[in-house]
Symmetry: D3
Subunit: 330 residues, 6 copies
């Protein structure tokens, strides 16, 4: 595990030496005709653009996307955005003992505990059809992808293991609703909660950056999940037709509205609970990280956030009544 300062901790005008991952790179020409190397570099905490004016031709034959480089540079400000002026740069070697995962953001929860919680939830399902279906789906490469994939490319739970973390939150909220409403079919709802975003395992790449796959863009994670469930059910003998329809309905309707890309809207008690539990988990996480990522800046307001349609208020942690964020900023 790589142990170095985070990009987010570097101050303006500070000089640093860090391993960083190449997101993309390109040669460019300035207006005055000189050419230089333009890169986008990342670590766990940030993605920042960089440039290198020195004779970079020797470097060009070695670097490629998703390779790791060791960089000595200075953090500058360009039109209000941070930018790295590279002084020296070399490609990392085996002896540097660094790997791609060291540079991707990752859930702050402990993976093993999340897996334990996940297994406990699966084991709590009494309905044998649903239990077998879950065991069929959550196995082999599919299970591995499910444990690792982020829940999104940059909005909520947008880090490794993010889908698992999000799924467990939705399950917990649903379990609370089952306590309040004994009328809810718990096995059905919890199975739906476990599966609702499973299609993201095929919708998103997470090997070096978080991008949507062709299949993800053409089909979408909602339908991908329905197709996987339909095929898995073929392997569960005598799976009841009515139960299948209700379960697939849960998956299809979990985004709640047609304009949010659900092809049907919630028509069962379990479906309306799942929709709002999903909203609660995803929006809370998204707003928290949007605020955290700008807490160290000046001012009480984040930049305008398109998905929230507003700037967010950053509480003043020096006020006694506001200090919750204080101790565990990113």
């Amino acid at each position: 595990m790589l142990n170095q300062k985070l990009l987010s901790e570097i101050n303006k005008d500070e000089e640093f030496t860090l391993f960083l991952l190449i997101n993309k790179y390109e040669t460019k020409t300035s207006k005055t005709g000189s050419s230089y190397l333009s890169l986008e570099l990342r670590d766990k905490s940030s993605v920042i653009s960089a440039y290198y004016w020195e004779n970079y031709e020797g470097l060009l034959k070695d670097i490629e996307q998703n390779k790791i480089v060791k960089v000595n540079g200075v953090l500058q400000d360009f039109n209000g955005l941070p930018q790295i002026k590279i002084k020296r740069i070399r490609v990392a070697t085996d002896e540097d003992k660094v790997s791609v995962e060291d540079f991707l953001p990752v859930s702050q929860r402990v993976l093993e505990i999340m897996i334990q919680e996940f297994n406990d939830v699966v084991n709590s399902i009494h309905n044998q059809y649903l239990r077998k279906l879950l065991e069929e789906i959550f196995s082999g490469k599919r299970l591995n992808d499910f444990f690792n994939v982020p829940a999104g490319s940059n909005w909520h739970h947008a880090y490794l293991h993010g889908l698992l973390e999000h799924t467990l939150e939705v399950v917990k909220i649903c379990e609370l609703m089952c306590e309040i409403h004994p009328e809810i079919n718990r096995d059905l709802l919890i199975t739906g909660a476990l599966l609702h975003d499973f299609g993201k395992t095929q919708e998103l790449n997470y090997d070096a950056s978080f991008n949507y796959t062709d299949k993800g863009k053409l089909i979408g994670h909602i339908t991908i999940c329905a197709l996987e469930v339909e095929k898995a059910i073929l392997k569960v003998e005598n799976f009841p037709e009515d139960l299948k329809n209700q379960l697939i309905h849960l998956i299809l309707s979990h985004q709640g509205k047609l304009e949010y890309a659900s092809p049907v809207i919630p028509k069962t008690l379990e479906a309306i609970v799942l929709y709002h539990a999903d909203e609660l988990s995803s929006k809370s996480n998204a707003y928290k990280y949007a605020i955290k990522s700008e807490m160290n800046k000046n001012g009480r307001w984040t930049k305008f956030i398109k998905l929230a349609d507003t700037s967010l208020y950053i509480p003043d942690v020096n006020n006694e009544f506001n200090n919750s964020f204080e101790e565990d900023s990113i």
Copy 2:
């Protein structure tokens, strides 16, 4: 084949004797306390409410939904809507030689010709993966349902064989677009056109009235179709992944907008063509029948039509330049 006058041809205050299908029935009490039998009766052309005041108790043990009765009655007007006052009524027997299909609306095109056109289209597909997929899907009970089901419960092509008629129209429009744009992948587009509404075979009942099934309401014909295609592709060896994604994209996006219940919007040339070809076929049919069904009434405007968000103008067929509707009113 039953040969009798159509309900739509009966005039106000006219007495008639006709076989009719019972859509539903119920005993009711009038405000003054008398009880009577209230029914909804249909033939190919109309659905009209009816009532029967005489001692109907004997009748009650014989009638049920979707049974055929022979009715002697008078057509009256109640608050602007037609209503049948039944004088005599009896349940039809085998000797009457009538069957349920005699009372359902049916496409005005000849079924055999449509089936021939359909087979010709399937045979025109050169891509072997798509050809095999079509042969897999369009077989057995599935093919039979596809030939018979209406395309909707009451808007466009809402009659027996309606889905087949609609599908062939969409295919013809798509073929014209292939002539205009050689860049279109014809095999892909025509396969998409043939399959786009196939899910309606499971979304709609058409045995005696046209109703949505539980599965239809919980899952919807778009996802039903995607699930069927996914399973059928399991039986076509080596079906290319990219081709599958593009085909399922065609099915998912054919309603064009998220708010029209497509979970993805059109992202390929073929998808945008299919969406608008479907709109053109369905809206033209819907508006034509909405106008036809009110041509014999007074006035130049139909009643307000919710799905069109307007009344429609009924051309005056006595004007020489307007007489297209004249010779073939329903």
Copy 3:
């Protein structure tokens, strides 16, 4: 406490004798010129229209809105809606020992337990400004109204003590979110949860039927609550300005979107949590009761529900995997 059969348990054509509350009444003339008394009667379970043809003039001088009557009648069906044909009717007397509350729907949770939970939550607030504010607001007549008022006139928690039940659910969901996100300012969020719908105490009448007040229609419960909090804060010495702004923001933004009548949208982490917690509690309750109220009818679907924009699916409790609703139908 009145102990009699519920209106919802009476079958069609069944004769019954029950105490019922008069929602409204009017004399009417039939088309044939006779006049009669038309009433709307209610008990805890239903509101049903009724009529009385006998010489009702003597009755007229005694009855008025919100009075209780003893009715002997028969349940009939009029155009698909239930209707009571009254045979005999008299105004209730003191000796009948019935009171208005016996005829209003009421929360199924035990009031004392809810009050205990409420007090525990208030006592858990450590911030002294917020604690004092809560004690100021929740006192005297205001507290009494808060414990009794429904949370709405006919959608969610639309019964006596409904606001208290709803508030406790929102608090529980918020507490779960505080466990997941230690960054949340718990005292602020829980105070906001306790107060968010407090304005409904002035927005709704609940003495005999649940109607909106003039003030409720002209001002709305969101602004009413903000005005009450502003005035109560005048009585808490040195209440911090920033804390006040954040708290009033929580109240104003809790409906989440401008088009849902919030004058500002959520701009803090606490505000986004409160909005979705409120949605989860209110929608779950509303859908549950919408399904429950039609479970005894034929068919697997409720009538179309405008606020849900759909019919809801009624699970078949004879299926082993669906039987959660079974034991505690209303």
Copy 4:
């Protein structure tokens, strides 16, 4: 009062010497590594960015936001936007006899006349409760703020005394409507017109630039005004409850639609008049200034204006029939 050329009158490539206000400033690094001082400077007429390459370190310890500087520079064009190249710059001293207000845009109406009109309107209110309320609200610092604050940060009446100017226009329009409709409650409507945007005194800062306050963003001027009115009414003995509800309704509903941030829509005759009078005053002012600020440019169309969702047509003042703008361009 400062007497110097306006920034809007400087031509491209013209050299000038002017006092200007620092809106903000920052040191930046160019791509080629040199550092320079980047500023945003304003006078009454414009806000323009500027840069200074010379040895600016000495300057840095003296300048700060909202300070005034004397600048010798040249107006250049950078990517279609004006930009000042600073040659010499120094901080203004007491002897320069300039003050911040000299650099903020200001209403073109004479303040004293507006105040006289305002007083006349207040004095015309006969209803003693409303009269006392107005005298309570419009006093002390509140009155001073009301006379000075702009009505917005950059759309309509976005200059000093702008709220007063806007308020008087709305009053005049409302008075005309009272002449047309004697049914209107004049005292109520005019009081509502005087108060409708009063909350902007707390929503906007206007000391050196026009920015939204934290309270403004968290609460909004509509609710701020309602809270102030509620508290002021506490000081007016026996203020009738019905009158208070109608008045607060006027304030809350004056933006006309929920999606425009009014928590209730207009439900009284006075409310619908106030909403449209406000629209008429604000939109006319906004469009006039949007056109004026681009009249000297080439072309008959302004740039695209987001809040108008279009470019605006600039009439050709050389056409005799179009010359209204001619004599009094800004």
Copy 5:
């Protein structure tokens, strides 16, 4: 001029004898099989349905739509709506000295005064092209229609001379805006105000009831007006092209938004003023009449009004501060 009690002044159960206009009529059959005559009758104040059970066959050959009858009857209530039980009825003769206009609602302003105001406005236009255009358009039958037609079928200014009354209000509001903003091209704006709804002269019938014409429904008053102006301009020599475009733009954009059926949105200062002046005049009038028509009923709220999307508050005229409506109720 007919001098008789208004239908709106008749109380429930009151017997009366009045001349009334037949809006429509029809023979109907009751559920019990008897037939009767159903009519819709109107005077200036109301439209009410009526029925006549006696032997009406003799009457049938004499009555027709838009004929006047003398009716002796009783006002009853049927499902909350008023209904006339006719006892005696006969067709009016020449000797009765009644005419259709006596039964249509009419502006409460004096026609001659409005015509004088209209002429003064036309005469105030200095631009000779616009002046000639106005004289061309407002002449002969077109002028007569303009003076008589209502401004709508049932929303605002929905009575004879309503378009003239509405036009003069819009002109007055525009003139006030010209005083506030000397930059406005007064001749252009006032000409636009005079013409903006002129197309309604062809969009609406007003001979006996206010209905939309076929042309009105197919083309709409906005385009009708543009077509008339275009043709009239052919008769004004050398009408400047730019002036024509700006004038037609005023007409086309006066409904302000595409979704309100304007094919272009306001892009000039005059256009934005005209749009909001039209809104202010029409909405004020509509809300006033909606409130007035229910002032005599019980309760402080009108029925739900679809075009206002709300019920409206009826002020209590017994409150001293609310009594503006008092003296001149309809």
Copy 6:
């Protein structure tokens, strides 16, 4: 006809010598104070920005917008967009034998064939009123404009003769619909199809670049067309009123929805067919060119396209089943 390499065929860093058209030009100053000439140059295939640092003052007196220059330069990349660094440049002379049309994009269909098809369609109209109207409209300069103008500035059929090409496609689709639905009034529909976008002849300039005219922005092509048809009908004796209303309705409603700038929505069978035929032709063309213009780039997706609200998928022409685009890329 100019015969030279297309701009779209030049590779990055390639040096070239080409005649190009000046779209616009301007002198600018760089941040370091040097001044240079900035231009926008075009040929049939692309519009690219360019810059020239050498002593350009001599050039300035000769160049102007829409003049042709001969350029020797290099294609570079600036922030991901292509940019021309000009080495040498001179204004073209008569001897160069180049003209403006050589530099505008043009339909790929043969003009003479399109004109023949157009004439055949006009000749197929039997109704003499419509035939004469078409001959009146399509004559002289109007016909010439109709043959040359593009159908839009940059979305569909955005090239010379584009309106003619688009019109013929719409006619073909309408003719297919006439075959399917004999109820359609063919003469009316085809006349509407020929005229529907005719207003674009006045809405768009196409002399050197494709821009909207003042009239186009103030009136819009829909109303322009209606005005032209109205005036042309004045010259056709006895043109039936009903036919005129239906025809103008077709023109007005052909964009299908109010929010798409149609002032009325389709209310006839012909209008709904025309709307969807127009959509099918325009969207297919727009998507095809959007894909084609990016086929040579890396990646399977185009850039985000605002009017499609998505990126588009670029099929892999190396897949046998996808090769339709292969042979005729732009």
